[in-house]
Amino acid sequence: MKKDNLDSKVASIVAPILLFIIIFFVWELIVKLNNIPAWLLPAPTRIFRSMVVNFKDLWPHIWMTFRTILVGYLIAIPVGILLSALVTNFALLSVALTPYILLLVTTPLITLVPLLMLWMGFGIQTRIVTVLIQSFAIINMNSATGFLNVPHIRHELMQTLGANRLQKFRYILLPSALPDVFTGFQLAAIFATTACISAEYVGGNMGLGSQIIKYAQFLKTTESFACIFYVTILGLFFYTGVGQIKKWIITWKI
């Protein structure tokens, strides 16, 4: 019924907003009532104020983290899709390499960060590579799943039309795989953000990750939280951005 649907949609938006407000309200209350010092647990209002006041100082780091994630992520997308398309398309490659596609995902590639820094230094390029490999792994795996799960009758359809490999890819493989590909993109957004912060923890003094550590060490918990919230905003940007693009592109229901 139409009214139910509308109520449902309104509830989906209003309910979480209410919950967020409640959470922040309770947080604020606990801090104020117990007189908790700011260096231990700052109140949300204090954190929000800090985000605004310190924006100028924090901006270079916000921009650094954003750039790092963006570049690594954008490179990972075509590489991940193409590689999985190639591997899954040739039976022998598929059989030989699919375990490795899985391996790349289950091994936390951030373990390579110290080595990468040894080879490439502490600059942005190392962190971009970290984001790149961690994002690539999950995009690669989800895309491979998509390519391998195309319904058999669609393959038969292409066979009856004598399609070559490129035609198969264009007409059935890629469109069929798109939902899985986009799931991979969304997960990669999360992995990318985490990988970037991880890399910023290890070396260099640029980026929000480094600032979180720095402020914490000086007991400037408020500023540390401000950085954490900015990380959330960046992550949200990528995650919902991809989600929206998914809605625009995948207009059909499989």
Binding site: L19, V95, L102, P108, T111, L115, L118, G209, F225
Partner: protein, 256 residues
Amino acid sequence: MGTKKKKKIEWINILAPFVVLAIIVVILEVLAKSGKVAEYVLPAPSKVVAGTIKSFGRAILPDFLFSIKIILIGFISATILGLLLAAVFSQFSIVAKATSPVIIWLVITPMITLVPLVLLWLGNDPNVRVIIVILQASPIICLNTLTGLTTIETEKKELARSVGATRFQAFIKINFMNAMPQVFTGIKLGCIFSIIGSISADFVAKTIGMGNKIIQFTKYVQTDLAYGSILLVALLGIGMYMLIEAIEKKVVIWRK
């Protein structure tokens, strides 16, 4: 197609990944020994294995055991927590709607951002890192489980009600079993996040743990041991993942 050819294909399927592994190892070994690539970038695989085995007992084992402990305790706790919370939240549609975006917020914010603050609050006890693992892994497990439990077709719900199933019975038989594929996807991701959480916590807190060891070995340019440590973590990751898959196969028999 004759049976002989079919058998041959089966063998190829099993052996192919190992052949690839062998080829990679041989290429790396040759490259390393040729001297064209610096030792600190690419130590020979033979050296990596030998060095790691030699140093394993005194230099690596304590940290490895520590990391395993943190990861396993953290992951299992996160799974229980995530599943329980999702089960509770899914009971009332309004609660599920309210909490989903909040959980997404917790998933998107890398919980490793809290490592410095957690250390500040709870001190230097290395075991505190378990909390980071739980924080990093439980949101994704909770989110996937919640999604799995709430996207159930109304038909099945009505069917349960029509045969007089109690709320609990209906929940277990229909919601839970239907959600299984999603739940296991969440658990697998949680497994990966657990390890990432643990290693990242080691990066910040240092003193002990595989993350710390990798940094130490790299610092002293003992790259063969660094690689060895990375491989050990990789083995742990694969091992956990395979175990989860095995459990999943037993539980979700009808999955495509």
